[in-house]
């Protein structure tokens, strides 16, 4: 059971790793790319810290359950924000 944000972080981390491997001997990362990777790193760490929502929410479609699910995404954002910059 994952949230929208944790699922996106997982997919994007894989894509970023692929891209970095492909350009191992290529040009250095631009400042914008470095910032983007730092963001991704922080979001990954925050996702791990927050953990997965209860399995009972999987497939739930009532508004209360959806709100609880979305709250996990918000917690990831807040956790990432609260961490000291690297």
């Amino acid at each position: 059971m994952t949230t929208l944000l944790s699922e996106l972080v997982r997919c994007l981390s894989q894509a970023a790793a692929r891209e970095l491997r492909a350009r191992a001997d290529g040009p250095a990362l631009s400042r914008a790319e470095t910032v983007a990777l730092a963001t991704l790193h922080e979001m990954s760490a925050a996702t791990l810290a927050v953990g997965a929502p209860p399995a009972a929410l999987a497939g739930a479609t009532d508004l209360a359950a959806l709100e609880e699910l979305a709250a996990f995404d918000m917690r990831i954002v807040e956790t990432a924000k609260a961490r000291p910059p690297r």
Binding site: L5, L63, L66
Partner: protein, 336 residues
Amino acid sequence: MSARPPEPVAQAIEILARRHDAVPADAILDYELLSGGNSHITWRLLTGDPARDLVVKIAQPDGPLAPYDVKHEAAMMAQAEAAGVPAPALVGVHHEGDVQFILMRRVEGDSPSLWEVREWLKDRPDTDRIDIGHSLLSTLPRLALASRGPRTQQAIYTDYLGDLVAKVEEAADGVLALPPTIRVVHDWLVSRLPSMEAPTVLCHGDFRLGNAVFDGGDIAALLDWERAMEGHPLHDLGFLCLPGMKIGDHICGVLTQQELADAWLDLTGTPLDLRAAAYFRILAIFGELCLMVRAMARLAQGRGRLTGVRPLPLIGRLHHDLVRAVRSFENDDFTL
């Protein structure tokens, strides 16, 4: 020009020099990146005379909002002008294969982003803040359509919502598991469409402070018409009320909800329908969430640049804001 500009700009400048009389080959002395959006990149072309400078918006062929249709944007700008809402003067549109750009005159004035608005208003009387919000809102009642298409508003919004979901589902297919929120809120929005008896108007589609250029307290131009469409008179007002664009109690950094309602009454002679406004606010959150998730899904497929990762926290907020807004609406709480 000291160095060759980045490839898309060089290509655009070469085409402009060859094909558009308005831009002689030696007229462009330099260039400056204005913004790199999801669907296009915008550059200012400097001529040495700021009043003659141009702006070129170059479509990203594989951008997350593709297909970005320059002809559509140009047509919408023309409609806005015809309705009496200022838009940048169009110089030309180029659309050949993957090379698409729109060329316009640069509009002089202030265009503060949401993050700059406090600083921008800091040393001005509080009445200026309300005047700015009033000016921005005053464009909406003017956006009447000279001629409207055959579709009903019900059909327009049913198609619009279906298209948003179809595109996000297509982008996510085989890449990520979408949360049930997308489908549930889509169905909710279709089931709660407000009364569509209001006249169909031209909607800007990305109606926010950063897309307005001010000359003093007046609107000099509304920019970025790529998402313009026919729709409900409160469509743009709902977008303006996106939770992420609220600073404290101030919608889009300028007006409280009461001030917004007062301005609407003043401008239209009718009280603001809070329920409908709240509906279009939810529709705006939903639209933004779908667009951003679509952008991220394309990025995860290797279609795009790593730099696009930065909006990730915004997606978390949009997901949360969306469900909360629907719950509030269901509880008859129409806070904007």
